[in-house]
Every structure is written in structure tokens, then in C-alpha cells.
């Protein structure tokens, strides 16, 4: 306590008092005077009395020093002094300071920016109680049912309701499980309808996550009774605030969700477990068996809670105190296998691949981060970008180290003088360290500012409203700040110490004699190494950038197979607002006719899923006369289209006929298949396909009553990736109504002029047809496709930027190195020229210098880069293979940049004036 007080007093003196020395001097003077007087009184002479007084205090200067040391904090004083000195030095060499700070800022800025997004997308825990104890269940299975697309990637997170029930009771003492499912709902308030994100949750979901209501109550197990779910809804606090102005009297009011009335019973400070797609409302999960979700037939609806093959929900759990993830995994797997065996017994007919059904494993992963769609979409590119940013930071560090080494070589004279004047080594190291620290901190601060600016710039490239927006806008967080500050400070300390070590070895005498040449040779080797590593690392980044660049180029040049220009597209949703299918039918026909009537419109079409819209319908089919072996089980994709779809989108029909208005619900069921379908199911024989039939589902009792009437070219209907398209077939939209009363439709309008000019008219036509219709994604087809590739564009842009920065830094490092080397050898060049050496031979010397650094650098870079690119392509299946020529081109660019960097030093060397060079030494 008293110690702290004394420390503060000393600290205060350090800042404040400047005349304390004088004060103490006069105190000491009065002391000596009094002592002398006493001495004289005792009979001593004036001189003797004064001498004795001085002896007795033990030397005036020592006392003054001891007093001064006690008065302030000597070490802090020296640190402040050194800081002051370092700041002055940095100010006095603005060129060096600017270069060093910009290099650090680039390295740190790139990392801070990318790490911010990285952290938000991949590392952030859900804001719930003790997220580290949460688990997510996933399934890895060889089985593919006749009903669902099995997403093979690492584990499928969806489960059937009966499986959840079985697992929950089996794992009870190790972990509690809760079920949830994500969806969009249409909420109608004051006559206007909007899409919102909803989450269906089991009654114990909130208590399991530890969420407390801010208003009203949570859901309980009484709310999610199968077939008797309560019509209650819980709002997220955010939705309550933005939509209802945080109205405290909101409870017990009704909300129209998908055309049904729900009572609002609570508000929770929780946005669900899908970061990037925050849920706005929460409903009891067993509502899925009712008409709420609309998209199911009545039989399907009943089945949601019974069918072991209908997987539609996710399972989250919380480990009991003391239980481990491995214990839970073992226990749950036993229950899982038991359940699978029973399910197989119960629904034998529907499970085609019986052995595959049992080859299964239940995986338990940590669930603290929720199920991030962003992490799924951007996780891999972000990991790669973060690696690239770290490599860039390494390059920046090497560059900075290089700069500091060169400076240290120039400063050896100064340091020798300081040593000769009595500065201790400790003090010299302290001073250099402080200078490096200061530089590092300034660099880190500049880097953070740069990161902030960079993130703002990045926002422009992301389509507004995309969930990546929030990951970027949430700003640089504390973790990132600490991380970056640590990197900055560490870099600066390490690389300012390297020159400090070099400086300490200085032989005072030789340094004072300015024999710099020999001294700098040790540093020279280190500097060569630094620049060589920079070149190697920039090779790696350039190779990475080349992969991404080629990938984007391919993506942009992928021909989707359908017309993309002069097409306006939008999506219309009527479903779930209480309208029936007849009404919807007439609405679609009405919109179609009204659009046809617009001037400049040449044709109009619509389809249920739409082209590369993110909506797909898959499912097993049985083709008459074709027996599937397990190896080539393929579930074709499908879409329901209006008769003019093929002509509007200019998809050529190869044989047969297209749909007509006669293909209605009452007529014979018909289908048009694509080439990939024919190749798979009819061995490429189009004539055979034309007479073929198929039916939905697998197993032995499928009615193959759908007649194939035509074959089209294969188009990329579901995604733009280069993977070979799966078989695809089209069904008439008119035959779609019966089973799916309310699915939305995508419209395609072909125009003779710029399609965006039709947007306003399209919007008003839809609104006039039925105000309850929801119109979304209104844009031109080209805009739509461009939005699809924005993720790839963003990643490519960033990787190209980093590649360019890496090249720039390496070139600067190389140029600096060569410039210094040439400057040191001016005399040698002068003598050579004087002795008759021609320009070519001087040039050869510089070239040799260049090669000594660049050749090992490039060699190492090619090796590491090759391994890196292989790793990258191996990890990210979405990337297309890059041809060797692209790498060769990137290599040529690298060599050209290196040559450019060597140009100026070479010119300097060649233009040495021998007389001048010899005279200056």
C-alpha cells in the first residue's frame, strides 16, 4: 500500500518536478553550512570545518545521485529518454520510417482485416450459456434413401424425428438433446407480407441453451406435443425491437405466419443457432406435422413425425457435468445402431440399400459455434486467405528485417561512438529495442487503420443484405486487436534485436576508423537470406493467386447452356398466405399474360425451382427397364416448367416435342429429359429414351407412369461449378399443382431491349394481380449469375491483391539489397571500367549478384508453392484444376518483376564514372 504510494509519488515527480535538483542542492548547502558553523564553534578553522562537513555526508555528488535515484524511477527515466531519442531518430529519417511503417502496416493490416472476418465466420461462439459444452450430432452413412439428397460432405446434420426420440432417451444421463429446424416463413402484418427466418424448436431448446426470456415465457415441452402443438410464437429481441418498436404490450397478440394465427408468448435475446441467418421467430417444432410448412402433401405431413427416412431436423445437445464428448458419442452410437436396425425392420420396402443403411456412424462435434452457413460457404476460402495473409506478413517481416539490418550497418559508427563514450551494452540494446518497439507499435496502429479501411472497401464488394455483411461490419474485435498488437510488437522486437546483436559485435576501433565494409559482410549474408525468402514466399502467393484467378476466369466463362442476355427474372411466392392452388394458377397465368402484353417482350416463361436459384428438388426415380446397381445410384434433379420455358431460355430440344397447354393435370403425365439423363438411363440412345417411362421413388412397387416425350441439351440448371451435371428432367408446371399447392415460381421474361427497363412494370403487374404475392430477386439474368459468383470474385480479388503486394514487397527488398551491394562496390566497378571492362561484364557482375539471391529464392518458392497449390486444390473441391501454362505465366511475371527490380541497380553499376569512383575513396 505504502509501496504503491511511494511508486506513484516517484512517477508523479518524473512527470512534474523539474527543479527538484536545485531544491535538494540548497538543502544540502544549508546542511553543510550548519555543520561548518558547528565546527567553527568547536574551534576548527573555516576550511577544516567545511572539509569535515563534506566528508561526513560522504561526498556531495554521491548524495545528490542517491537522492535523484530515489526521487524518480531511474529505469523508467532512461526508458523515457530512449523513447524520446528513438522518436527523434525516426523523425529524422522520414524515408526509412515511412517505408518501415508501410511495410508493417500492409502485413498487419491484411491480417487484421482477414482475421476479423475469419474470426466472425469461423471462431465466434454462439451468445448462449457455456457454449463449450454444446454438441451437434451428425451422421455419416453409406445409405441413400429414395427421398432425400444425401449431402455426403463431412457429416449430414439432419435427422428424422423418430431417431431424435430414440437418441434422446438413450443418452439422457450423459447429455440432453434438443431438436430444431430452420426455415423461412411469411409474416403478414397490415396487409403486406414479408419473408422472415424462423426456427422450429423443441420444447426444451431454450432451457438447454440457457436462454432467458426478456418478456413473457419460453416454450415448454407442453407446447411441442406431437399433433397437438400449441399455436404460439416466440420473437427474437431483435425482431421485437425492429418490427414492433420493443412494444412491452406485445404479449398475447396474434401474428399471422404463413396465413395462420399464432399467439405471441415471449421475447428472447437469442437469434438461433444459424449464424449469418438470424432467426426472427421461434415456433414449436411439432408444428411441422401440420399445414404450417405447406410444401408437403397431407400424407407427407403426417409422416414427418413417423417416417424414419424423412430427415428434416438438426439435433443440438448439452453435455452433462462430468460427461465427455467421447462418452456421449459411444453411448449415442449404440442407440443409433439399435434404432437403425429397428427402422430397417419397420420400413423394409422403402430402403433399397439395406447394407448401406446399416453402415453408419453417428458423429458428435462441438456445437458452440452453431451451424454456420457462412462457415460452410466461405470457411475453406477464408482459411486459404488467412494462410496467404500470414505469408504476406512473413514477407513484410523479412522486408522490415532487411531494412533494419541495412540501417544497423549504417549505424555502426554511431553505436561505436556511444560505446566509446561509456554507454553500457545493456543501454545500447535497450535503446535499439525501444526504437524497434516504437516502430512496431506505429506500424500496428497504421495496420489496424488500414484494416478498418480495407473492411469498409470490402463491404462495397459484398451484395447488400448478404450475411457476410454482418461478419464484416461487426468490426475489428478485441481478440483481433490483441492478436495484431502482439504480432506487431513481436515482429518489431525480434527484428530490432537482430540488428542490436549485430551492433554489439562491433569492434569499436575498426568502426571508428569507418572500415564499414568488412563489418557489413556478416549482415550481408543474413540480408541475402531474407530477400531470398521473400522471393520464395511471394512465389507461393503468386501461385495461389493464379489458382484463384484461373478459377474465376473459368467460372465467368462457363456456358450455362441457356440464354443469359435480355432476360429479366424474378420470383413470385403466393404460398402460405392462405390462397389456394386455383387462385395461384390463375395468378401465374395472369402475370404471364400481362407480361406478354408489354411492348418489347418477346416471350415469358416460369418454372418452380428456377435456374441456379438455390432451389433444387431431388429424389430417387425408377426407370422402366433399368435396374440400378448400387455403384451408380444417382438421384436426378428436376424442375416444373411452363410450356414456353425452353424457347424463352433458348434450350434446344434434340428430339421429340416440348410441353403444350394440353399437358394438364387431367392429361397423361409427361416429362422431358436431358442428355445426361439419356446417357445414364438409356446408354445414350435417344430413340429408346423417347419411348421410355419412369416413376417416383425406389423399391419394387413403383408405378412407372410418366412418359418421356422429348430430350434437350444438358444445361447447368442447379450450379455454375464445373462438376459434371447430374441427370435432369422437366415436368409440366400444370401437372405440379396437385401435389404442391403453394410452391413459388421463378419468372423469365425475354425482352428485345435492356431487360432492367422492364423491372418497374413487372413489379406493378405482380402487385396488381394479387397484393398478397411476394416478389423477390427481381434482376436481370446476368446480374443473377454475377451475384452467384461474388464469393469467388471476392476471394480472387483478395488473393490477387495479396499476390501483388507480395511481389511488390519482394521487388522492393531485392532492389534495396542490390542498390546497397552496388554502392559498396563502386570502387571495384570504377577500377574494372578503368582497366577496360565493357558494360556487358559489369552487367554480368550485377546479374551474378541477382542470381545469387533470386535463384535459390525462386527454386524454394516453386517447391513450396507446388506443394501449397496441391494442398489447396485437394482441400477445396470447388476449384477447377489449373493448367501448367498458367503457372508458367505467373512464373514469367515473377521473373519480369525481379528483372525490373534489378534494372536500376544495374544501370547505376554500368554508369559508374571511374575517375569519380576512385577519387571518393
Amino acid at each position: 500500500m505504502r509501496g504503491l504510494r511511494a511508486f506513484l509519488a516517484r512517477l508523479l515527480t518524473l512527470i512534474r518536478q523539474r527543479n527538484a535538483d536545485d531544491d535538494f542542492a540548497s538543502e544540502l548547502e544549508s546542511h553543510v553550512a550548519m555543520h561548518t558553523e558547528d565546527g567553527i564553534r568547536a574551534g576548527l578553522s573555516q576550511e577544516e570545518a567545511r572539509r569535515r562537513a563534506l566528508v561526513q555526508i560522504g561526498g556531495a555528488e554521491q548524495v545528490r545521485q542517491a537522492h535523484r535515484d530515489r526521487r524518480t524511477l531511474p529505469w523508467l527515466e532512461s526508458v523515457l529518454q530512449d523513447t524520446h531519442y528513438a522518436a527523434r531518430r525516426l523523425r529524422n529519417s522520414p524515408g526509412f520510417t515511412f517505408a518501415a511503417v508501410s511495410i508493417l502496416a500492409l502485413g498487419i493490416g491484411a491480417n487484421a482485416a482477414i482475421f476479423t472476418v475469419f474470426d466472425n465466420v469461423l471462431l465466434r461462439n454462439l451468445p448462449v450459456h457455456d457454449p463449450d459444452r454444446l454438441i451437434l450430432l451428425g451422421e455419416n452413412s453409406r445409405f441413400e434413401t429414395g427421398r432425400l439428397n444425401v449431402n455426403a460432405a463431412p457429416a449430414d446434420l439432419t435427422f428424422a424425428w423418430p431417431a431424435y426420440q430414440a437418441l434422446r432417451s438413450a443418452g439422457r444421463d450423459l447429455c440432453d438433446l434438443a431438436a430444431f429446424s430452420y426455415g423461412t416463413a411469411i409474416v403478414t402484418t397490415n396487409g403486406s407480407s414479408n419473408y422472415i427466418n424462423m426456427q422450429l424448436v423443441s420444447g426444451n431448446y431454450f432451457s438447454l441453451l440457457g436462454v432467458q426470456p426478456v418478456l413473457g415465457r419460453l416454450l415448454t415441452s407442453a407446447d411441442d406435443q406431437p399433433y397437438h402443438a400449441s399455436s404460439v410464437v416466440i420473437l427474437s429481441q431483435e425482431y421485437w425491437r425492429t418490427r414492433f418498436g420493443a412494444d412491452p404490450s406485445i404479449l398475447d397478440r396474434t401474428l399471422s405466419i404463413n396465413g395462420q394465427a399464432f399467439t405471441i408468448v415471449g421475447v428472447v435475446p437469442h437469434q438461433g443457432v444459424f449464424p449469418g441467418a438470424p432467426a426472427e421467430i421461434f415456433l414449436p417444432i411439432t408444428l411441422a406435422s401440420g399445414s404450417l410448412l405447406g410444401n408437403y402433401t397431407s400424407a407427407g405431413r403426417m409422416n414427418v413425425l413417423r417416417d424414419p427416412l424423412n430427415r428434416w431436423m438438426n439435433i443440438v445437445g448439452r453435455l452433462s457435468p462430468g460427461a465427455t464428448q467421447a462418452q456421449a458419442e459411444a453411448r449415442l452410437n449404440t442407440a443409433w445402431w439399435n434404432w437403425r436396425r429397428e427402422a430397417l425392420r419397420a420400413s423394409r420396402d422403402n430402403i433399397l440399400d439395406k447394407a448401406g443403411w446399416l453402415q453408419t456412424h453417428l458423429s458428435v462435434t462441438s456445437g458452440g459455434r452453431g451451424i454456420s452457413l457462412l462457415a460452410h460457404d466461405f470457411g475453406e476460402p477464408l482459411r486459404i486467405l488467412q494462410t496467404m495473409a500470414l505469408v504476406l506478413l512473413l514477407i513484410a517481416c523479412a522486408n522490415l528485417a532487411n531494412l533494419l539490418l541495412a540501417r544497423a550497418a549504417r549505424r555502426q559508427g554511431e553505436i561505436a561512438v556511444r560505446g566509446a563514450l561509456g554507454a553500457t551494452r545493456r543501454r545500447v540494446v535497450q535503446q535499439l529495442t525501444i526504437e524497434g518497439l516504437l516502430l512496431g507499435l506505429i506500424g500496428a496502429a497504421a495496420g489496424l487503420a488500414l484494416a478498418w479501411l480495407g473492411l469498409r472497401a470490402l463491404l462495397i464488394a459484398v451484395p447488400a443484405g448478404h450475411s457476410l455483411h454482418s461478419a464484416i461490419i461487426s468490426g475489428v474485435d478485441t481478440n483481433t486487436l490483441v492478436f495484431c498488437a502482439a504480432v506487431g510488437v513481436m515482429t518489431s522486437v525480434v527484428f530490432s534485436l537482430a540488428p542490436a546483436m549485430l551492433s554489439i559485435r562491433v569492434d569499436l576501433l575498426r568502426a571508428l576508423h569507418m572500415q564499414n565494409h568488412a563489418l557489413t559482410m556478416g549482415g550481408q549474408r543474413l540480408r541475402n537470406l531474407m530477400v531470398a525468402s521473400e522471393i520464395a514466399l511471394s512465389c507461393v502467393l503468386v501461385a495461389g493467386a493464379a489458382v484463384f484467378g484461373w478459377n474465376l476466369y473459368q467460372l465467368r466463362n462457363t456456358n450455362p447452356g441457356f440464354a443469359t442476355s435480355h432476360v429479366l427474372t424474378f420470383r413470385v411466392d403466393i404460398g402460405r398466405t392462405g390462397r389456394n392452388s386455383e387462385q395461384f394458377q390463375s395468378d401465374l397465368a395472369g402475370i404471364d399474360a400481362a407480361l406478354q402484353g408489354q411492348s418489347g417482350v418477346s416471350s415469358v416463361a416460369y418454372s418452380a425451382n428456377g435456374l441456379i436459384s438455390g432451389w433444387t428438388s431431388g429424389g430417387n426415380i425408377t426407370v422402366a427397364g433399368y435396374s440400378a446397381s448400387r455403384a451408380d445410384q444417382i438421384t436426378p434433379d428436376r424442375d416444373w416448367v411452363s410450356p414456353s420455358f425452353f424457347s424463352t431460355m433458348q434450350i434446344p430440344l434434340l428430339v421429340g416435342r416440348t410441353f403444350t397447354s394440353a399437358d394438364t393435370q387431367a392429361a397423361e403425365k409427361v416429362a422431358i429429359v436431358d442428355q445426361a439423363f439419356v446417357r445414364h438411363f438409356f446408354r445414350g440412345n435417344m430413340e429408346a429414351a423417347l419411348g421410355g417411362q419412369f416413376g417416383f421413388g425406389g423399391g419394387d412397387n413403383v408405378k412407372t407412369d410418366i412418359q418421356i416425350i422429348g430430350v434437350t441439351l444438358t444445361v447447368r440448371a442447379t450450379s455454375l461449378t464445373s462438376a459434371p451435371p447430374v441427370p435432369f428432367f422437366y415436368l409440366p408446371y400444370a401437372q405440379h399443382y396437385g401435389s404442391h399447392p403453394s410452391s413459388p415460381a421463378s419468372f423469365y421474361v425475354r425482352t428485345v431491349y435492356d431487360p432492367s427497363r422492364l423491372a418497374v412494370a413487372a413489379r406493378s403487374i405482380v402487385h396488381r394481380t394479387d397484393p398478397a404475392l411476394i416478389l423477390s430477386n427481381l434482376q436481370t439474368m446476368q446480374q443473377h449469375l454475377s451475384d452467384l459468383t461474388y464469393g469467388a470474385r471476392l476471394v480472387t480479388m483478395l488473393s490477387l491483391l495479396m499476390g501483388a503486394l507480395a511481389l511488390l514487397l519482394a521487388a522492393i527488398g531485392l532492389q534495396g539489397l542490390l542498390m546497397l551491394a552496388v554502392a559498396q562496390r563502386t570502387r571495384e566497378f570504377g577500377i574494372r571500367i578503368a582497366l577496360g571492362a565493357d558494360r556487358t561484364s559489369i552487367f554480368a557482375v550485377v546479374l551474378a549478384l541477382l542470381c545469387r539471391v533470386a535463384v535459390p529464392g525462386v527454386a524454394a518458392g516453386v517447391l513450396v508453392g507446388w506443394a501449397g497449390v496441391r494442398e489447396l486444390l485437394h482441400h477445396d473441391a470447388d476449384l477447377v484444376q489449373t493448367p501448367v501454362t498458367i503457372f508458367l505465366a505467373a512464373g514469367a511475371l515473377l521473373v519480369a518483376v525481379m528483372a525490373l527490380a534489378a534494372f536500376m541497380p544495374a544501370r547505376h553499376a554500368v554508369s559508374v564514372d571511374p575517375m569519380q569512383a576512385l577519387r571518393t575513396e
Binding site: 546542511h31 550548519m34 555526508i57 560522504g58 530515489r70
Partner: protein
């Protein structure tokens, strides 16, 4: 008693506090002289060491200082105990008494039992 003892580490502060407690405000020279006198001239006190010790006590808040006029009409800096200083002086004295008493038991001739 020909030889003088050096001042033991850490005891100077206590001597300063006790002296100020009994004598009231003193300047540095007077304080040093007084300490020597109190010890019966048996302490070898380097007068210079008094000043850092005084500064430390002042920083710790046990004493305060102000410029004044000495008995010989000379400008001098006077030191005085604060309230905390009075308390400290009492406590430190008690602690020392205890310490010396314990030590005395060790140094006393062993009694036969």
C-alpha cells in the same frame, strides 16, 4: 567502546521516525546529529544517507517537509511526522522491541533444568 557500528539496514527509517516523534520538527542536519547523540556517539552515521531515507519516508506519506528558518537564522528544510507517521513510529517501535526480546532469549545464557 572504541569502535563505532555502522547503521544496520532498515533501522535508519525507524531511528528517523522515533527521533521526529520525540523531538518534533527537525531539519536534516539536526536529525543526523540527534541520531548520533541518541546512540551515545556509538553509531557511525554517514550524514548523506539520511536524505534518501527522508525522501523515501516522505514518498510513503509518513513525514512531510517544508522550508523554514533554523535556530541560527538559516534557511533549512524541516521534516515533521504525519498522522500515519505517528502510527508507524509506534508500531515499528513495538515490533522492534519484540524482535530484540526474542533475540535476547536466544543470546541469554542457557539455564540448567
Amino acid at each position: 567502546m572504541g569502535e563505532k557500528s555502522d547503521v544496520w539496514q532498515g533501522t535508519l527509517a525507524l531511528m528517523v521516525l522515533r527521533t521526529l516523534e520525540t523531538m518534533g520538527p527537525l531539519h536534516g542536519y539536526g536529525l543526523a546529529r540527534r541520531i548520533e547523540q541518541t546512540s551515545g556517539d556509538r553509531l557511525q552515521l554517514n550524514y548523506g544517507t539520511v536524505y534518501p531515507a527522508l525522501l523515501k519516508l516522505e514518498q510513503e506519506g509518513y513525514i512531510r517537509s517544508r522550508w523554514g528558518i533554523s535556530e541560527n537564522n538559516r534557511r533549512a528544510k524541516f521534516y515533521d511526522l504525519t498522522k500515519a507517521g505517528h502510527l508507524r513510529a509506534k508500531r515499528a517501535a513495538a515490533e522492534w522491541a519484540q524482535t530484540t526480546e526474542i533475540l535476547a532469549r536466544f543470546l541469554a545464557p542457557v539455564e540448567e533444568s
